[in-house]
């Protein structure tokens, strides 16, 4: 009996949730506000939803047992054995890198462009993964450091004519400085306060970029940002600088705009590999162990003489510098940036990538970044549902698989006896 009561209750709740917010539409007609009922199709969806909730509640235990019987996918079992993997790994890695470098010459420009965008998200995901996954600090203003990197390159290039390659370390360094200045005071705070403060910081940066029109161009942003060069060779039809030779003339081939796209892609691959290498090393270094230890038991760490502020700060700063790095490249690729690109939603997307992939897991984050950037492109008709699904995904993942698709496997240090 109580089951039926529960089911009716749940159905009633669903009805209250849906009837006004979905069932009625607000329209502005001139100066008056009117309402209209939703289309019959939408009402049938609402009724369908209510029936579904009713049935799901009524047969909740049976559905649960059904799910319990489903075999859990074991990704680990798909991989070859431990020892075999160790010998295979360098070969696989080499093949992968060669594949990454050769692949763009065989596909369309659009595909290469999308791949470059994916690589940017991979870098951002890996950067945030240091902060959230490895150090366990929830940073909701990550996009602020991305913005700092992008504007650093854009402004230095515009005002001082500095090249992309010179600006890359400066952008990373400046983003790290911002991370340091923000992190130093706030990292002493509890985790949820940190989340809110970083969220506020992200908004402050965006508001400043929007309003400091004299420097940043305000909402109009900065356009005409220089593209990177290959040891001084430009990828334009004609050299912009006096006495410079464009790439295609130097090579003695015909001009093609896809060279530029491929060149940008290759830079992104190299930057991404660099980031992967650095983070991979970090997890094996004392600092990586300290992050993990701090996540597990902060009090024990303090009693052993670990300075938690410095250790958290190092994660925060390294994450920020990765975002700065990605930001500088983003500015160079787009040639145009504005505060629009650095809103909270971007931070949320990057966080969703980390959560989906598996907090702390590098391979997971890379796979998630690929899925999250390519899927919306493939399913364009669903693009308006993108953020809705991201939000849903975060809730669902935390409930059923908080460790992510590919759970982190930290490299253990072994004692040889």
């Amino acid at each position: 009996m109580s089951k039926i009561y529960n089911a009716i209750f749940a159905a009633g709740i669903t009805f209250v949730l849906a009837c006004l917010m979905i069932g009625v539409k607000l329209n502005t007609e001139g100066t008056t506000l009117t309402v209209s009922g939703a289309s019959g199709e939408q009402w049938s969806w609402i009724v369908g939803g209510i029936v579904l909730v009713f049935l799901a509640q009524l047969f909740a235990d049976r559905i649960d047992t059904l799910f319990g019987k489903l075999p859990k996918p074991k990704i680990g079992a798909l991989l070859p054995a431990e020892e075999k993997r160790a010998t295979l790994k360098p070969w696989l890695l080499a093949a992968l890198i060669v594949g990454l470098l050769v692949w763009p010459f065989m596909v369309s420009r659009g595909a290469v462009d999308l791949a470059t965008l994916t690589l940017i998200y991979i870098m951002l995901g890996l950067g945030l993964n240091i902060v959230v996954g490895l150090a366990g600090l929830l940073d909701l203003g990550f996009v602020a450091f991305y913005a700092v990197g992008a504007y650093t390159y854009a402004l230095l290039s515009q005002y001082f004519g500095l090249s992309f390659w010179a600006c890359l370390p400066i952008a990373a360094g400046l983003a790290a400085t911002f991370g340091f200045i923000l992190g130093f005071p706030v990292l002493r705070l509890r985790g949820d306060y940190l989340a809110i403060v970083t969220l506020g910081f992200g908004e402050i940066i965006r508001i400043l970029l929007n309003n400091w029109t004299a420097l940043t161009g305000g909402p109009n942003g900065i356009s005409g940002i220089e593209k990177p060069t290959l040891f001084g060779l430009e990828f334009t039809r004609r050299a912009k600088e006096e006495g410079n030779v464009p790439f295609h003339e130097w090579m003695g081939i015909d001009y093609s705009s896809s060279y530029k796209v491929i060149f940008l892609y290759l830079i992104a691959v190299i930057l991404m590999l660099f980031v992967v290498y650095v983070i991979n090393r970090l997890t094996r270094m004392p600092i990586g162990r300290a992050w993990e230890a701090l996540r597990e038991d902060e009090i024990a760490c303090r009693s052993l003489g670990l300075n938690r502020t410095i250790i958290k700060l190092s994660a925060f700063t390294l994450g920020a510098s990765t975002a700065g790095f990605a930001g500088a490249f983003f500015a160079a690729r787009q040639g145009f940036i504005s505060p629009e690109s650095f809103i909270f939603i971007e931070s949320a997307i990057i966080l969703a990538i980390v959560v989906l992939g598996g907090m702390g897991s590098q391979i997971g984050v890379i796979l998630a970044a690929i899925v999250m950037t390519i899927l919306p492109e493939l399913a364009r008709e669903f693009s308006e549902y993108r953020m809705l699904l991201f939000g849903l995904l975060m809730v669902v993942m935390m409930r059923w698989r908080p460790q992510g698709l590919v759970p982190m496997k930290r490299p253990h240090l072994e004692l040889n006896q």
Binding site: L20, M21, Y193, M398, P402
Partner: protein, 308 residues
């Protein structure tokens, strides 16, 4: 009186008006935090939904030919409270209860996911553009020398002050006198112990979300009428501000949330009086960072002693 001081009085009135609505939203944060020690990230969206429901009901009743404003407002208030509370209750059941007792980071991410979901749910169902409601309550008092500066205090502002005051008084009475209120206070002292004493803490936690959502709905109605505009993104900023207010007053403390809301509202109004109004958000967040650094327990909160 001089122009400066009249101008200051005007900003003070505006600030207290906005501040009292911040206080209403902030109570939702503070009550939930007091009991389960978690930031309810989706709370701002609940407020936003409250505003939408108010607009829907008012426009609906008006088009049906009901013109008596008090009745329209009363019906709108009741329906907004019911709908928002249902959302608050559902959010707790779906996104937070299953995660109780797990890692804080995990619960926090789930909360953020819920906030993003609700915001985009409204974008999809009601569109992302501003929806405007013509002013329902107009007029007010003015004083001061018209040739220098005229201070205005509108009926709408009076309504906000009165409604906030009555709600706060009612809540304080409820928390201090009723059985439920007592259970609520017990939970925020020690959740585990209260559970052992045979009180259904799940019910109390649900109720906290419902009360918080109801107050957010009242704020949604008041601010919706005051600004006359709503869009799916207003909840995000209002939520952040209200959280700042809660922290400012001392998170977990209900009088603190009220005080924090008023201080924040006045600070913002004074900032926008002398600087471009966009910078009021910067000031609000800077205030948040400063409080957390120098007085993390807020103005009226109890300092936490770390258990080793």
């Amino acid at each position: 009186m001089t122009e400066t001081s009249l101008y200051l009085i005007q900003q003070l009135i505006n600030g207290l008006t906005i501040g009292s609505t911040y206080a209403l939203i902030a109570i939702g944060y503070t009550m939930v935090y007091g009991i389960i020690g978690m930031i309810n990230f989706a709370h701002g969206e609940i407020y936003m939904i409250g505003s939408y429901v108010t607009f829907i009901v008012i426009a609906g009743l008006m088009s049906m030919g009901l013109v008596s404003l008090p009745i329209v407002l009363l019906i709108a208030l009741i329906i907004a409270i019911i709908t928002s509370s249902t959302y608050g209750w559902t959010v707790e059941r779906v996104a937070y209860r299953p995660l109780r007792g797990s890692n804080r980071l995990i619960a926090l991410i789930s909360a953020i996911g819920m906030s993003i979901f609700l915001q985009n749910f409204v974008v999809l169902s009601q569109g992302s553009r501003d929806v405007a409601l013509p002013p329902q309550i107009s007029g007010g008092w003015t004083f001061g020398d018209p040739s220098v500066f005229e201070v205005s205090f509108s009926y709408m502002q009076l309504l906000i002050w009165l409604a906030t005051f009555l709600t706060m008084a009612g809540l304080t009475l409820f928390i201090s006198k009723s059985r439920m209120g007592r259970a609520c206070r017990a939970c925020s002292e020690d959740l585990g112990m209260t559970n052992l004493l045979g009180i259904n803490t799940n019910k109390i936690i649900s109720m906290t979300f419902v009360i918080g959502a109801a107050l957010a709905a009242i704020a949604g109605l008041l601010l919706g009428l005051y600004y006359g505009v709503v869009n799916p993104f207003v909840g995000f900023m209002a939520g952040l501000k209200a959280f700042t207010a809660a922290v400012l007053g001392g998170i977990g403390s209900i009088p603190g949330a009220m005080l924090g809301g008023l201080i924040l509202g006045v600070t913002e109004a004074l900032t926008s009086a002398y600087f471009p109004s966009e910078y009021k958000d910067v000031v609000a967040f800077s205030l948040l960072v400063l409080i957390l650094l120098f007085r993390p327990s807020g103005l009226l909160g109890k300092p936490e002693v770390e258990k080793v």
